[in-house]
């Protein structure tokens, strides 16, 4: 039973870790997009 449990836990922990990595990356990208939007708005405001 130990080997069966260990194999299943190892795989699902690895998949979960990858999902968490994707989720963190997504939040980081959304932050970067917001910063870029603010930069663009500031540039446009300066031009006008």
């Amino acid at each position: 039973m130990f080997y069966l449990a260990a194999a299943f836990i190892a795989v699902w922990v690895a998949v979960l870790a990858y999902v968490v990595y994707l989720s963190n990356r997504q939040s980081h990208l959304e932050d970067e997009l917001r910063t870029l939007e603010e930069l663009l708005q500031a540039q446009q405001a300066r031009k006008s």
């Binding site: 039973m1 080997y3 260990a6 194999a7 299943f8 690895a14 994707l22 870029l36 540039q43």
Partner: protein, 250 residues
Amino acid sequence: MSTIAPAQRQTAKRQRSGWRTAALLLNLAAVAAVAALMWASLLYARPAANLAGDEQTAQRIFYLHMACNFGALAGYLVSLVGSVAYLLTRSLDWDRAAQAGIEVGTLCGFGTIVTGIFWAKPTWNTYWTWDPRLTTATITVLLYIAYLLFRNGIDNRHTRARFGSIYALFAFLSLPLTYYSARWFRSIHPVIFSGENPEAQGDFAIGPTMSQTLTISAVAFSLLFSALMIQRWRQLRVEDRIAELREEVE
């Protein structure tokens, strides 16, 4: 111009909303299929009749082991198609597909090796042996990990894509070698599809419930692979777009 821009924005918004709905449905289908895989592999499939004790219990690892194998194969096939398509079209979308395929494929390849390690102990009485199948499978995963490490060291986007595509084409050659390793060389690893290995240890006959469970595991990991790969592919697209916009702004 002022009337076209809002219309284009509306179309883009509708497309984004369609993408989100499709991604949500795919994610839900993947979660349901994974739950079905757990039920089938742990409860539904009949135990192997020729095995006993720990060896019989550990045989259920087979379904997850094969599911990971399907995921890895799908990822490396996507990388092959993406790399060839990039070299022919020079469209970075193909390179992103290849990278996403390799990332998720390598995750599944890692799963194949780890499940194999835990299955080997009760069956072969050791966690690891330098069997041709185990060795070639590990080399394959290491080759693709090297792909991910090397390509990150190249700044120019198209140089990186060209290097990655050519590397991925050569790395793919390790897959047929892994597949045939248990047939061509002396190996104790069982052969499941098209043929058998008389020297295999821990081999078993596949009954109807086992074969159905194997189908469920293939479907589950195909859905899980697709969900993760598409998500990563979209992220890579946004990453590149952000890098372009940043260059424009600065």
